[in-house]
Symmetry: C2
Subunit: 127 residues, 2 copies
Amino acid sequence: MDTCPPLPAFRADCPSRVVVDVLANKWVLYVLALLQKSGNPLRFNELRHLVDGVTQKSLTKTLRTLERNGLVDRRVYAAVPPRVEYRLTDLGREAAPLLAAIDSWAAQNTPAIVEARASFDTASGRA
Amino acid sequence: MDTCPPLPAFRADCPSRVVVDVLANKWVLYVLALLQKSGNPLRFNELRHLVDGVTQKSLTKTLRTLERNGLVDRRVYAAVPPRVEYRLTDLGREAAPLLAAIDSWAAQNTPAIVEARASFDTASGRA
DNA sequence: CAGCATCCTTCAAGATACTG
DNA sequence: CAGTATCTTGAAGGATGCTG
């Protein structure tokens, strides 16, 4: 049930597949990594500006998905103006470092990737 | 250049953003994780069957992307029938464990996620 | 402030057929 | 075997306007 030996989630009918589908997403990665690095709960508009380039619609959808999958806790405060805070759940606190690690690795290895890309493009572009 | 303090890749104009965009992908995760767990090079159709559910088109595109970004090496053998092997580059060998870790975590925590999801759905579905 | 609703575009992915 | 080419669909994402 919880594992699909020998290779988790590679089979389409494996339950963990849907979990990977949730996590292997750009905005999910940014939101979880940011909530972790922040250490504090973040409000909707805080996330909106921290996750540069995300639209309100995409962020809403991302946060709903994370909430639905038990990775993020959405807390609404009865106040005017409205105040909604998002924080990692215990489950989210486990997953976030895995995604943050990808962001860190990406940042460190961007030059190598950019170089590989340029090399590939020139090799393909010309004979 | 390589880092965007204090939060890598969260700004849209940060170069590492494109690297995250490559890695935060379902098929990329599976291909890299499989190549790592295999330890050996894998042929196109081997990957096609191991990554259950991927279409030939999507796999081709995924592999091209990985090759272009220096994560996978594509080796063609002049033979009949044609033989093409894919293996991790040094860069790919660094990145793969990070993605494999997500797959493992997903497999281990699927029950919790499924439960959270059911809980959320019943709470939303009814008053 | 934190969203939901709507419209519209685009572009990624599936199905299918063909080739070096 | 390992792809490429084409067609079609449908879901993701942007823009805009409105609301509790």
